[in-house]
Symmetry: C2
Subunit: 347 residues, 2 copies
């Protein structure tokens, strides 16, 4: 029942990504050797989803390190700083990107003085993160699966699946783990305008696995909740503040308000690398605003009137009081979040 999709992979010294801009029309892979192109693949959303962005950024750093033509440590380290800066700015909201860049920098610094060793260590660390991501997702999936009723319908928003990670998924990892545990789980996928990741990615990857899924327009979820057809909501996260406030795909806050109104449990599933203990609350999370063409055009064709002003924030912040629990690889955390998240983050 587990998907075989590997969204981020390291093959013969090249980074291999599933090109998510052409799904579900086509399952195509792109290989990268140039770190700048990898950073650009994050910006243009060839790869998206906080954990996948994190691992991809690690390879941007490893490929960047390899590209530096010097044996002088100071020069190397200074060029790495520049590569880190560019990679970090590929997208602003998902903290996994910053976390992964910092992790590679720390590994490099452990080999201070030896450029060659630092380059190999960076690559080894990035490769280790692939495996780690899968293990973390399987662990959080098992933790979250216990929260789902034996026979249940889960609403999810955007894509927090195998395509948002190296594989398996966070929110969809919870679903997959529940299915593996023998539970009868169906998914309702919000299509998730403007980029339709719910329709194009979530529905597609669940269909690959034979997990029942129904796509709805984002504004249909309220009626399903009112009619008792949603047992719980499970979404991913791009950044979670210390108090549990959660930035995720635009529309997540909408779903959280609906869940509260209808008494439906609202779960956030994310690895600890998504938790930013440096931010006391969600007001400090930078919210990316993306190209207005994402709203006004569909697959390259204009759908909006000429000159119609539009707004296109990529994320919103769900306040902690709308979140029933945060599902992590270290356990399920319920409100109040801060103390428990801090304790787990130090484990």
């Amino acid at each position: 029942m587990a998907t075989n999709l590997q969204t981020v992979d390291w093959v013969d010294g090249k980074l291999r990504l599933i090109d998510q801009t052409v799904l579900p029309r086509e399952l195509a892979y792109l290989d990268y050797e140039d770190w700048r192109e990898v950073a650009n693949a994050i910006t243009t959303m060839v790869v998206r989803g906080a954990p996948a962005i994190g691992c991809t950024a690690a390879f941007a750093m490893a490929l960047g390190a390899r590209s530096i033509q010097t044996e002088d440590w100071q020069t190397f380290r200074s060029e790495m700083k520049e590569i880190a800066l560019v990679t970090r700015s590929a997208r602003p909201t998902a903290v996994n990107l910053m976390w992964a860049v910092d992790r590679i920098l720390r590994v490099i610094d452990r080999h201070q003085g030896s450029v060659e060793q630092a380059k190999w260590a960076a690559e080894d660390e990035a490769v280790a993160m692939l495996d780690e991501d899968l293990k973390v997702n399987r662990a959080l999936g098992r933790n979250g699966a216990e929260l789902l009723p034996e026979d249940s319908t889960v609403l999810t928003h955007c894509n927090a699946g195998a395509l948002a990670c190296v594989g398996f998924g966070t929110a969809l990892g919870v679903v997959r783990a529940a299915v593996e545990a023998g539970k009868a789980v169906r998914v309702i996928a919000d299509e998730t305008r403007p980029r339709l990741q719910g329709m194009k990615l979530t529905a597609w990857e669940l269909l690959q696995d034979g997990i029942p899924v129904t796509v709805i327009a984002d504004n249909m979820a309220a009626v399903l909740m009112r009619d008792g057809k949603i047992d719980c909501v499970v979404v991913g996260a791009d950044r979670i503040a210390a108090n549990g406030d959660t930035a995720n795909k635009i529309g997540t806050y909408n779903v959280a308000v609906l869940a509260k109104h209808h008494g439906v449990p609202f779960y956030v599933a994310a690895p600890f690398s998504t938790i930013d203990m440096t931010l006391p609350n969600g007001t400090g999370i930078p919210i990316e605003e993306r190209d207005l063409l994402e709203v006004t055009h569909m697959d390259g064709v204009r759908i909006a009137p000429q000159d119609a002003p539009v707004w296109n924030p990529a994320f919103d912040v769900t306040p902690n009081d709308l979140i029933t629990a945060i599902i992590t690889e270290k356990g399920v955390v319920r409100a109040p979040f801060e103390e428990k998240l801090r304790a787990l983050s130090q484990q």
Copy 2:
């Protein structure tokens, strides 16, 4: 500031409709002489919006009457019954359709015995309804305009504008009347998936009038409300039950829940012809489910994965406890609605 758009018109013995399936790409008019084609134009949404559907149905009846080749009253009346049946079934939710068909039948019956007089009377009544619709919208617009702050931002869902009526609009009629009264009003238009009437029709017609409008994906409204950027919600209606429960475009209930959560006033603007006093509450309102291609395809191009199951209800019902007031041509009605609506309906 008032739009010159006439969505439904009677020109040289033909029904002229704006073809709303090609907006905003093109402003095109279609002329009809065959009543069956008129009923089909309602089904295929060449014309849509409860008041516009009502007037169009009246012309389907008038053209139907004209097409009957008999001078025998019984035969004529029996064929009219058939025409009424087909016209009524063009779409199930908007009660204005049934109201308009019944109104033409009553006029015909006033000329019992004279087929020729009945045919002319049906046509005269349909033509009178055009003018009446504009007057009703202007009256409800003035009533609703008083509810808007001097400087305000109104969120609307779908299109309850000139394009949903003969002209002027219901929800957008309130906005237009407020602008005419000198208020500074801006509109946030939910794009309104799946058919995008908010993006394709509401934004387009407000741009024609120079009224400031910004299009958002449906799932962006929650954040704007949280940030205090929406002063009130004004939507139209397809059918209002005696207790105030309101069927309107899918997603309206979602917006109403959000408005309640954020303390934002939620207004329904509709003519009395939209109120169905025969239904005690919203559970009796039939909800149309439309072709799944409306969700899976965009302008004829598939956007969903092959074989992805989808759901496509065209309407939802907002319960009366989420509605701050119902704006009609006879006045603004606040909860509890039933007694007041019943009293006004008898005026």
